[in-house]
């Protein structure tokens, strides 16, 4: 799947530290509220590729469960346990390990994501104004604005 996809409700990201996750095809993504700013990334750790956040929504750091790397608002690993002994990563090296960003768009109380970080954010709003509730990504919005079905709920595509 390419393009924008519905990830969830803005209400689940209202406060600092809240996050939601989903799948754009075979790519796991996460959007988190970093002090009021919504940032989206591939939900795959840069260290040894573990899926980081496994619940659909929650609150807490963007932290990988395998070896506890924690990522900041730029997707850069800011906490790396044993870095001074095991990895010796300075700022430049950490920057090179930043999580790939995904574009995030908040419109109509909904959160949309796009794997292209520079995707046009006007599109999801047009979907909401022009559509009948069924979005081009396959998601369905009810008349009251809540989500009936979202395409990003589970992994789709080749195994």
């Amino acid at each position: 799947m390419t393009g924008w996809a519905l990830l969830g409700q803005a209400g689940d990201l209202a406060e600092h530290g809240q996050w939601i996750t989903g799948w754009v095809g075979t790519v796991p993504v996460v959007v988190r509220n970093f002090s009021g700013s919504l940032r989206g990334f591939r939900n795959v750790c840069s260290h040894r590729f573990a899926l980081m956040l496994t619940e659909p929504a929650g609150r807490g750091p963007l932290r990988c469960p395998y070896h506890a790397w924690v990522y900041d608002a730029e997707g850069i690993p800011k906490t790396i346990p044993f870095n001074d002994s095991d990895f010796h990563l300075d700022d430049t090296a950490r920057q090179a390990l930043a999580l790939p960003a995904v574009a995030v768009c908040l419109t109509g109380g909904l959160i949309f994501v796009n794997l292209q970080a520079d995707a046009d954010p006007a599109l999801p709003a047009q979907w909401l104004t022009n559509g009948d509730g069924t979005l081009p990504d396959g998601s369905v919005i009810k008349a009251d604005g809540t989500i009936q079905h979202r395409s990003t709920k589970a992994r789709t595509g080749p195994c």
């Binding site: 395998y66 346990p81 044993f82 095991d86 992994r155």
Partner: protein, 291 residues
Amino acid sequence: MLNFDQAPPRHCLLPHRWFTDASAYVLEKGALARHLPWRYAGLAGDDVDGADLVSLGGFLFRQQVPDAPPLAEWLGPFAADLLARATALDSPVAQDAAVFAANWKILVENTLDDFHGPTVHPHTIHPAVHADWRQHLSTKRAGPHSRSSWKLADATAAWWQKLVARGGLRRFADQDRYDHVFIFPDLYVASFYGTMVIVHRVVPEAVDRSRLEWRTFLPSNGLVDAKSASFRRGLVAMLSAAARQVIEEDKPLCEQVQIARAAAIGPGILGWREQRIGDVHAMLTQLLERP
């Protein structure tokens, strides 16, 4: 071999397709069968046969290529480690298995990762080993094979000391350590306090499915009376449950790597206590590049 004062060597890991593509899995299987000189085949007494089998104290290896070096040469310094642990093979007490929804190499990476104890095994392995890992972890690497050894926490060592006395346990070495000998590509042998030995084998079943089998050996000193026999039975049940618990803790992480790995864009990185993983990737790259 681990120099924590310097940056570790940077490795090139295998591309993700070797973990996710069914066609790559078939190629890899062929390369391992055609080019790997020796492969672990089971333990003496198992239902395996063939003129190409060689036993090292009961660990059976199959010679796969005509010009293979002698087995002892292929195993390098770890031949002696296996021989020492093989003395426990006369005392099987339990066996178990678990299926992982993950490529076999992810299980191998997991087991060769010497520093996920605090995060993945916070209540099992982590408190059992000495808190000062940096001082006590010792790792030996030779080609794709390796061994890591941790000093047990004082309380754990004292606990084992009591078990040895009450359970009439025999020891292959006088060591207060937990260690882990890995023989490429799929055998690893863990030992505890120089007595209990657990032989693990990673069996690939599909590109995204593997079976981990493990067999536990608890050697006895031969002076077993009714009381110590009963104590041993309870001990075996407890140790088997603990071994299973540790595997159950690793399983979700392995499966999380399997599901996410193909979506990663970056190269990944290995720290000092993951260099054994780099050795495995290097050997596999070599085998896969051969015609």
